[in-house]
C-alpha cells in the first residue's frame, strides 16, 4: 500500500510537468467544501489536475469522490475556497464573475447526464442556443445548427422536439449543441450513464469522432470502464484528490487485460 500523501505529491508533480509542456487546463491546490454553519463536507481537498489541448481526458473514481465538483470548478460554474484554476490561460481567480460567464459562453461546451434539452423547443432551436447566446443572428445560427444535426446523424429531424427522440438520440442533439459554437473546452459529466450499454458505446464513439480536435480539450467524467479505450489520458480520483494519472497506452493495455 502506498500512502495517500505520496500519491498526491506525485500527482501534483505530474500536473506541474504537464502544465509546463501543454498548459490547457490547470487546477492547482483547489479546496472546496459544501455546507453551512458547523456542518461542512469537503468535496475537493487541495486537488491538482491538468488536461492538455487536443486530448480526450477521462476523469474516473468512486461515487462522491468529487468528480462533478472538479468539473464544475473547471467550467467556472462553481466558486471554490482555495487554489487556482486556469483554462486556456484565463485565470478564473482573477476574473470578475461576468467575465467568467462570458468566457464560458464562448469557450466551453457542455454535455450533461440528463441531456438537459429544452423540451418546448425544436432540435434546431435547442442546438442554436449557444450561437444565439454569443450574439449570432437566428437564421445563421439555425443553419449552423442544422449542419451539426447532420454531423451527429440526425438529418431530417430538426423540427422534432426532444420528447420525440430516444435517449441516445437526445444525447446526440446535446453533443451537437455542445459543439456548435466550436468551443475550446468540452465538458461532459457521465454522458453515457443514462443510456443502455450499446447506445452508450455509440455515443462515446461519436464523441471521440466529432469532439476530438487539435485545439480542443475534452474532459469526460465516467463510470463506464468500456469508455476507457477512447481516452488519451485518464485521471483517477479518490476522496477529493487525484491519486493517479494514466496515459492512453496504459489504459488500452489495462482494458485489454480485463477483457
Amino acid at each position: 500500500m502506498r500512502s495517500p500523501s505520496s500519491l498526491t505529491r506525485s500527482a501534483a508533480v505530474m500536473a506541474q510537468e504537464v502544465t509546463d509542456v501543454l498548459g490547457a487546463i490547470v487546477v492547482r491546490g483547489v479546496v472546496k467544501a459544501f455546507g453551512s454553519g458547523d456542518v461542512w463536507t469537503p468535496a475537493l481537498k487541495g486537488i491538482d489536475f491538468s488536461a492538455a489541448e487536443g486530448e480526450l481526458h477521462l476523469v474516473v473514481g468512486p461515487s462522491g469522490c468529487g468528480k462533478t465538483t472538479l468539473l464544475s470548478v473547471v467550467a467556472g460554474t462553481l466558486d471554490w475556497d482555495q487554489g487556482e484554476v486556469s483554462v486556456f490561460g484565463a485565470a478564473f481567480n482573477e476574473m470578475p464573475r461576468g467575465k467568467v460567464t462570458a468566457f464560458r459562453r464562448q469557450n466551453i461546451g457542455f454535455i450533461f447526464q440528463q441531456f438537459n434539452l429544452i423540451p418546448t423547443l425544436t432540435l434546431i432551436e435547442n442546438v442554436s442556443v449557444p450561437l444565439l447566446l454569443n450574439g449570432m443572428g437566428r437564421q445563421a445560427a439555425e443553419s449552423k445548427a442544422l449542419e451539426w444535426l447532420v454531423k451527429v446523424g440526425l438529418e431530417g429531424s430538426g423540427l422534432k422536439r426532444p420528447s420525440q427522440l430516444s435517449g441516445g438520440q437526445q444525447q446526440r442533439v446535446a453533443i451537437a449543441r455542445a459543439l456548435v459554437h466550436e468551443p475550446r473546452l468540452l465538458i461532459c459529466d457521465e454522458p453515457t450513464s443514462a443510456l443502455d450499454s450499446t447506445t452508450g458505446h455509440q455515443i462515446m464513439e461519436l464523441l471521440a469522432a466529432v469532439a476530438r480536435a487539435p485545439g480542443r480539450c475534452v474532459i469526460i467524467v465516467t463510470h463506464d470502464p468500456r469508455t476507457y479505450s477512447y481516452a488519451d489520458r485518464m485521471t483517477l480520483m479518490e476522496d477529493g484528490r487525484v491519486i493517479e494519472v494514466k496515459s492512453g497506452e496504459v489504459l488500452r493495455t489495462f482494458v485489454g487485460a480485463t477483457h
Binding site: 462533478t68 468539473l71 464544475s72 467550467a75 460554474t77 462553481l78 461576468g98 460567464t101 462570458a102 464560458r104 459562453r105 464562448q106 466551453i108 457542455f110 450533461f112 447526464q113 440528463q114 438537459n116 429544452i118 423540451p119 418546448t120 423547443l121 432551436e125 442556443v129 449557444p130 444565439l132 447566446l133 454569443n134 437566428r138 459529466d189
Partner: protein, 381 residues
C-alpha cells in the same frame, strides 16, 4: 434568445392559458369595475350636463349639485346685482311623485326653468317644442320618463305629445320629449317652467333651489363666481368646481367608492396571486433549463430579461382580452342605457399599469430564484 423565451412560454400550454386567463380575469375586474364606478360618478354630475350654465349659485352649505337647501326669492336679485353678472335665473329642482296613466306612482326629477328665458333647457329635443312650457300645466319629459315602464305605464306604449299624467295631483301635459344624461338617482327628468314647478311642488316657505348665472362677455366664470360668493354670502360654483365638489362629496359620504375600490383591489390581488403563483411554478419547472442556459453562459441580466418578457407577454395579452370583455360589457350596457359605464383613457392606462405591476412582481420572484441559481446544479442528476 428572446424568441426562445417566448417559445418556452408558449410551449407550456397549461401554464400559458392559466396566466393569460388569470390576467384576463384580473384586468376585466379592474377595468370593468372602474368603468362602472366612473359611470356612476359621472351620473352624480349629470345636472350640469343637462342644464348647461356657467355658474351655479347655491345655499352656502351646499356641497354637491344633487342637494338642495332653498334660497330666498330675494337672493335672485342679490345675485343679479353683483358686478359682472350678465344674467341670473331661478331654478327649481326636486324629486316628485308622479302618477302614470295606470295609476301607479313614479318618482321623477322635476326641474323648473325660468319661464322668460327657459335658460338651462335640455339641448336635445326629440319631439315637440320647448317654448310650449310657457303654457300652463305643460311639461317636457326625457326618454326615460316616456318609457312604458315609467310614466307610459298603463298606455302600453311610450308617452306621446299630448299625453297627460299627474304630478302631486296636478295635471301635466307632455309638450316635448328630450334626451338627457342619466341622473344618479335613476329618476327620469321632467322639465317645466319655474312658476309651474312651484305649483307642482308641495308648498314651502322657500322654493328657490338654485340660481343659474352667466358672466358678462370678457369675464371668466371663476372670477364672477368668486364675486358672487363674497358679495352675497351664498356659494357660487363654476361647472368644474361643482363637479369636483360633488365627486368629493360622494367619496367622503357614500360607501360607493370604497366598495368599488375593494373590488378593484381584489382584482389586482387575484392577478398577483394567480399570476405570481403560476409564473413561479413555471420558473421552478424550468429551473433545469434555466440552469443549463446559465451554464452555457447566459448572464443573469439576459435571463431576467427573458423572464420579464415572458411575464409582460402574458400581461399584454391578458389585459387586451380583459379590455375586450370590458368593452363588450360597456356596449351591452350602453344599448340598454341603464348601466353606468365610462371608460377614460387615463383609467385604462392605470389598469394597464396595474397589470404590468402584477407581471413585474410575478417575474421578480422568478428572477430572484434564477439569480441565486448555481449553474452547477445542472450536473446533479
Amino acid at each position: 434568445m428572446y424568441l426562445i423565451a417566448l417559445k418556452m412560454l408558449l410551449g407550456d400550454r397549461a401554464k400559458y392559458f392559466m396566466l393569460v386567463g388569470g390576467l384576463t380575469f384580473s384586468s376585466l375586474l379592474m377595468t370593468q369595475q372602474n368603468g362602472v364606478f366612473q359611470g356612476l360618478l359621472s351620473w352624480t354630475t349629470s345636472h350640469m350636463r343637462n342644464m348647461r350654465a356657467s355658474i351655479w349659485v347655491v345655499e352656502s352649505r351646499v356641497e354637491q349639485v344633487n342637494e338642495t337647501k332653498a334660497l330666498r326669492d330675494t337672493d335672485l336679485n342679490r345675485v343679479r346685482s353683483v358686478e359682472g353678472v350678465d344674467f341670473a335665473v331661478p331654478l327649481f329642482q326636486g324629486v316628485m311623485k308622479a302618477r302614470a296613466p295606470d295609476g301607479s306612482d313614479k318618482q321623477v326629477q322635476l326641474i323648473g326653468l325660468h319661464g322668460g328665458t327657459l335658460f338651462g333647457r335640455p339641448t336635445a329635443m326629440l319631439e315637440g317644442d320647448i317654448s310650449q312650457l310657457r303654457v300652463a300645466n305643460s311639461v317636457v319629459v326625457d326618454e326615460l320618463a316616456a318609457d312604458p315602464s315609467r310614466l307610459g305605464a298603463g298606455l302600453g306604449r311610450r308617452l306621446r305629445l299630448g299625453d297627460t299624467f299627474e304630478i302631486n295631483d296636478r295635471e301635466a301635459r307632455v309638450v316635448g320629449i328630450c334626451r338627457t344624461d342619466r341622473h344618479f338617482f335613476g329618476y327620469p327628468y321632467v322639465f317645466t317652467s319655474y312658476d309651474q314647478a312651484i305649483q307642482y311642488a308641495p308648498r314651502q316657505r322657500k322654493m328657490l333651489s338654485m340660481i343659474l348665472a352667466e358672466p358678462k362677455a370678457g369675464l371668466s366664470a371663476e372670477e364672477v363666481a368668486r364675486r358672487i360668493s363674497t358679495e352675497t354670502g351664498m356659494k357660487a360654483y363654476t361647472v368644474p368646481e361643482f363637479e369636483r365638489s360633488t365627486i368629493d362629496w360622494v367619496w367622503r359620504n357614500t360607501g360607493i367608492p370604497s366598495s368599488f375600490m375593494t373590488t378593484i383591489i381584489l382584482g389586482f390581488l387575484v392577478g398577483v396571486a394567480v399570476c405570481g403563483q403560476t409564473f413561479y411554478s413555471f420558473v421552478l419547472e424550468n429551473l433545469k433549463n434555466l440552469g443549463a442556459l446559465k451554464a452555457m453562459g447566459a448572464s443573469n441580466g439576459l435571463l431576467a430579461g427573458m423572464l420579464l418578457l415572458q411575464a409582460m407577454t402574458v400581461g399584454v395579452i391578458g389585459f387586451g382580452m380583459g379590455l375586450g370583455l370590458t368593452a363588450v360589457f360597456g356596449i351591452i350596457g350602453a344599448q340598454k342605457g341603464s348601466l353606468p359605464f365610462k371608460m377614460v383613457p387615463l383609467h385604462l392606462l392605470q389598469s394597464f399599469g396595474a397589470v404590468l405591476i402584477i407581471c413585474v412582481l410575478a417575474a421578480l420572484f422568478g428572477i430572484r430564484k434564477v439569480a441565486r441559481l448555481e449553474p452547477a446544479i445542472v450536473f446533479r442528476g
